[in-house]
Amino acid sequence: MSDIVEKTLTALPGLFLQNQAGGGPAAAKAPFSSRLGGLVRSITALTSKHEEEKLIQQELSSLKATVSAPTTTLKMMKECMVRLMYCEMLGYDASFGYIHAIKLAQQGNLLEKRVGYLAVSLFLHESHELLLLLVNTVVKDLQSTNLIEVCMALTIVSQIFPREMIPAVLPLIEDKLQHSKEIIRRKAVLALYKFHLIAPNQVQHIHVKFRKALCDRDVGVMAASLHIYFRMIKENSSGYKDLTGSFVTILKQVVGGKLPVDFNYHSVPAPWLQIQLLRILGLLGKDDQRTSELMYDVLDESLRRAELNHNVTYAILFECVHTVYSIYPKSELLEKAAKCIGKFVLSPKINLKYLGLKALTYVIQQDPTLALQHQMTIIECLDHPDPIIKRETLELLYRITNTQNVTVIVQKMLDYLHQSKEEYIIVNLVGKIAELAEKYAPDNAWFIQTMNAVFSVGGDVIHPDIPNNFLRLLAEGFDDEAEDQQLRLYAVQSYLTLLDVENVFYPQRFLQVMSWVLGEYSYLLDKEMTEEVITKLYRLLMSDSISSETKAWLIAAVTKLTPQAHSSNIVEKLIQEFTVSLDTCMRQHAFELKHLHENMELMKSLLPVDKSCEDMMVDASLSFLDGFVAEGLSQGAAPYKPHHQRQEEKLSQEKGLNFEPYGLSFSSSGFTGRQSPAGISLGSDVSGNSADTGLKETSSLKLEGIKKLWGKEGYLPKKENKTGDETEAPVPQETTIMENVDQAVTKKDQSQVLTQTKEEKEKQLLASSLFVGLGSESSVNLITEQPECCLSITEAENTKIFQYSVQMEKPFMQGNLCGFVNYQTVDTLSAQLEFSVNLSLLDFIRPLKISTEDFGKLWLTFANDVKQNVKMSDSQAALPSTLETLEQKLRLHVVDIIGNEGLLACQLLPSTPCLVHCRVYADILALWFRSSCSTLPDYLLYQCQKVIEGS
């Protein structure tokens, strides 16, 4: 009953529509998609996007119910598919219907199948997994005796077909090349063309059959085969020279009007065919006089015949001109072609003008006089209101640039650049300007100014070759050394001026270029200027808008300039700032600078002035370490094994199943620490930094100690190599020297802590300013006195407690909080008590108490993750006890323990969460960190490692 009502309802609007259409000749206006009509009409009636969304969602859910209902007939399904396609076109997701589209193509009758195939071609993309389900249907339809089914199968194959399934249908399609119906042969050729595009190897063996298609008695089939030939000739023109005669003959016949009138388009014979043939001839005749001679006649005829004043004749003419200029030149033809170009350029129709400019651009290098002929038109086009015309004109000018006109042309290009917003245009134009500037620059000032504009406007989308080439050019210079120095000096001065401008943000790439140039060539300035340069670089380093990549460039520049500077206040400030940075890379740079800074001689020899073009001698075999290795071996150390060997041994030891993904086993081979250089430097740096941790580590962790030696050893002999003195210095002696130095440094550190100079205090105050935000919720309770706060005189037994909280503004490895308390003794003498507290990031870690469910949700939202395997000692092999240790020592919250897996959560105050997932197998603990902060997982991993391996 309800079915009938439904049918009636469906039919009503259809009948309505039928009456409206009046049943005229347009039989296509059938009522079959009336429900689509209803949908379309109700959408048009809506006023807001929100309403549309609601309506479509309703529609989609009703469609979802219908398509999955078992009672839905194929006919209804066809109707549903049409509506689904419509919804997808409006931008809504209808993926639930994809599988039904495939089913419809498979099971439906001809009409339903057609809609099913169409839906598949619209819904799916080439690598969609569902597409595999279509292969069988296609194979079946290709074998069908019904021509329409075969046509549909060929059409879908040419649109969308999984590459790896080509072999399944290839023989069937090859057979179709001999089919009696031309429409089938034509579609088969085009399907093979598609295969040639996506998988050329698979159709190589049927090249002979393509020749047969080229000679087919049906024009459509022959024309279809030209698509394949165009591709193949483009890839390898020499292989098809023998076909030139055939192509010429075909073109002659077409131009001579020998084809059926059916193929005429606005009384021009088969224009698409003509154009395709002209393009093929252009490829064949390129740089080949003999082949070109074969086509001169027909090209001449083509130029002559195309007289009708219609777009399509212009299309043919344009292609003809292109071909004439591509092949081996013949002056008579060139003359005619040039005349043709004139027709285009001078045409009042804007489309033709555009193509005229395009043609000029193409031929201008062969025939520069042509530009002179049309110079007035070109000038007019340069100020054309349509930016596309302007741009094509610039393209033309770019081809005729020389030393005399470069400044004007580049100026025009820059003007255009300033108006344009589209990334692709900017990248393209900026590349061209840079190229012209390098080739034709009239003087230094202009060159540097132009490149400044390139870097400023090009921003960070600029092709990386541009800054690289620019820097190479500066470094390598030209033949005249004095001139080169002037160029460099000009660059340095210009950058310093730019950096003085307030509130201007330069693109990162530009800043990188500046840092390199300033680092290398600031020595050309007055000696006193070096510190000023360093100050500027330092200011940039402290700015928030600088990416960490650029910071690395900046700190490298500072490092280069440090040996040239008289005073090193800023450098020391910088070292202090960044040796506690959470960014491992920056921290490493800062430590390198710090160590070099302590040894000026070494620093100067490592960073010689103006030697950027000279090759560094690097002892890649690390032969200077031989002595150290020998010593280690004699003391019973295991010989070094390359990574792959360790890997193999490990695999052969572990007979059991490998539960870890293969990628992970790489890092698990070194249980003791991260393999990354950053990790190593972190280990050694921390131990060298504070005497306390250093001691603890050497006593508890043997391998950490070895690492430390490696770091020092690798560092000292480098100096030997660089200075070029005796390289065979006795190693043991060096080690002792080094140890002494090390101790001295530590001592110095300690004494510095004890006797704080005023300067030191300032620095520390600066450091502590990072922890500002006193007085918020008592997250960290440090018992401190507020600076400059006077206590009232109290009885000895009376104590006063001030409680303040410290908040971290941005994550830092460690920092120092210091201050002083003023008090008065009984005899009213005022005294001062200084104090300082070292804070590490760990002090700001708190347990994060969440449920397992919340953990799961949070886990999925975080992008930054770090994984590492850690070997546990036997005593703590049980998961609960390990987690308990972590809970106690690092204040992580144990969320849940499930079998051999455990979940931990913590947060960096005020609210940066970090989640840990760990799993035990054998004595390995696989740790997996995720957080919203990119550096936090790294830090926590290091801490966890320390705790687990330390206990």
Partner: protein, 158 residues
């Protein structure tokens, strides 16, 4: 050809055909961007556009924009004629086509396009044979749905 789009002056997509594998997200982004660019152009401007690494050829017929993306070395003018031929085909099929015909029978518009272009290249430039192929399939449809329409279809058939 890389893709073909039909959209209205109000920026509503009416038909889209992609001849090169493109992800759904990328498609949406490209359609949105390109519509903006084309709709912002003034009537007297050139029908060709350089957009990203593509050449875009567009033409407006009444309230509908037809828009093709081709590669740099392809012939712009013939692409413009290709659009025109497609419009002619639609016109002949629907009998003086209008935007509404394409909205309400968009699947037919797709069928015609598939018969005219295959894999982005011209398959059949003969108007007669394209329409013949479509009508062959349609004939079955009319028989299936409403037999009286066969009469309207006239003598052309299989």
């Amino acid at each position: 050809m890389r893709f073909m789009l039909l959209f209205s002056r109000q920026g509503k997509l009416r038909l889209q055909k992609w001849y090169l594998a493109t992800s759904d997200k990328e498609r949406k982004k490209m359609v949105r961007e390109l519509m903006q660019v084309v709709l912002a152009r003034k009537p007297k401007m050139c029908s060709f556009l350089e957009w990203r690494d593509l050449k875009v050829v567009y033409k407006r017929y009444a309230s509908l924009y037809f828009c093709c993306a081709i590669e740099g070395q392809d012939n712009e003018l013939i692409t413009l004629e290709l659009i025109h031929r497609y419009v002619e085909l639609l016109d002949k099929y629907f009998g003086s086509v209008c935007e509404l015909d394409i909205i309400f029978n968009f699947e037919k518009a797709y069928f015609i396009l598939d018969e005219f272009l295959m894999g982005g290249d011209v398959q059949d430039t003969s108007k007669k044979s394209v329409l013949k192929a479509i009508e062959q399939a349609d004939l079955l449809q009319e028989e299936d749905e409403s037999p009286r329409s066969v009469r309207d279809l006239g003598p052309q058939g299989l």
